[in-house]
Symmetry: C2
Subunit: 239 residues, 2 copies
């Protein structure tokens, strides 16, 4: 049976980390909220008061009767099923740790344009966003990408993957974050990405994987835009 | 062998979610950074370039040779070992989802006093904090606590626990968040906590568990303070 992914239509957002895992594995899945009447179907699950394991927010995955929410948790569920997580227990927990660290990075990338709160428009918090984005560009990007660079450099199986010698959802997540940063902060990334050669090389290798390349070329891959997590507001980038 | 917990001394912070699990289970553990020369020992692990699975940030747990980082990941590691996670797979993933949702709630509680960034003092972002705290009080607290109230109400095993019929780290996490909100936003909680009677009752039951009550009465339980996640700045609370 095909997996059912539920996420807001129109943005990559957190759903993209799940899509990339499903696409990389060639797993059959439906993207429910992008089908006709799909938003109604998603809201019906969200509002279903009879669910014992309700999601707090999209994305969530249905696998038969099982509903799994929280991006990193969905990846931990799919990992062993799709062959995207090592079997060794310590390596599996490290892969999950990396997925959670990527999730933290994503929160901070989002907060550059919404520091005051999700309930307000960007236009209502531009001054605060400018301050937050400056710290993000100057401190946080290197803190995170420098960490992933270090993990790649120390991997005993070589710098092709973050964990072990095979593709994991952590690699896919790092690909997505770098793609998003290049979209949102093109000047910053152009000036600085030479600092993280192994992370950038990983991005490029993932983009060239046949299934991922086919996915990116398909209409299933949504473009980055100014409704998503990674937004290109030139005033938030370096000059 | 005793678990070794590494976290910043002087604050409850994210380490508290791990401490509560260890304390509730009566598990032997050392709190390394609070021992003499402990900060040096923690920084030595952080800076150890030979680690294949380095932590990104505290808290992290050492269990023999295994290092586990990210709060929710540490809880997922400890859960089966301490009897604080259901054995049923779907229920286990739901417990982890709840721990991640609590982690998101904690990020938002933190950002009320640091909306512009972690690198600045609160005093340098008071205006932004006032705006963010207002949204948090008026929208986000009920969004999260209302969700946990719903999960308690629908539990087929009754409203004593979030998942199943036994204590999990999700229950401990909800206890800690409610304790923190009462500290940081006493007026808001006094006015509103009647909206979430099952969540508040869970908090009170957890506080009365013999091991937790003994822990709270001990010097191992640090007080809330204005260096932690939950800070009491009266100007950020309701009048």
């Amino acid at each position: 049976m095909a997996y059912e992914l539920y996420y807001w239509p129109g943005i990559e957002g957190r759903g993209e980390f799940v899509r990339l895992a499903l696409e990389a594995a060639g797993a059959p899945y439906r993207e429910v909220a992008r089908e006709p009447k799909g938003m109604g179907a998603m809201m019906a699950v969200m509002d279903d008061e009879s669910l014992v394991h309700p999601p707090f927010a999209p994305p969530f995955l249905k696998d038969g009767d099982v509903i799994i929410a929280q991006t990193a948790n969905i990846l931990a569920y799919l990992g062993p099923r799709l062959g995207l997580e090592p079997k060794d227990e310590a390596a599996a927990f490290f892969t999950r740790q990396l997925a959670l660290t990527i999730a933290d990075f994503v929160v901070e990338a989002h907060d550059t344009h919404h520091p005051v709160g999700v309930g307000l428009y960007y236009e209502d918090q531009k001054a605060e966003a400018a301050r937050r984005a400056k710290e993000f560009r100057e401190e946080r990007i290197d803190k995170f990408l420098g960490y992933f660079e270090r993990v790649l450099a120390i991997n005993p199986d070589g710098p092709d993957h973050l964990v072990g010698k095979a593709l994991t959802y952590a690699d896919l997540g790092l690909f997505q974050v770098i793609a998003g940063l290049r979209y949102a902060f093109p000047n910053t990334m152009k000036a600085r990405e030479g600092q993280w050669p192994k992370a950038i090389a990983l991005h490029d290798r993932v983009a060239a994987l046949p299934r991922i390349a086919a996915y990116i070329a398909s209409p299933r891959r949504l473009p980055f835009n100014e409704s998503g997590i990674f937004r290109h507001y030139p005033e938030l980038d370096e000059a």
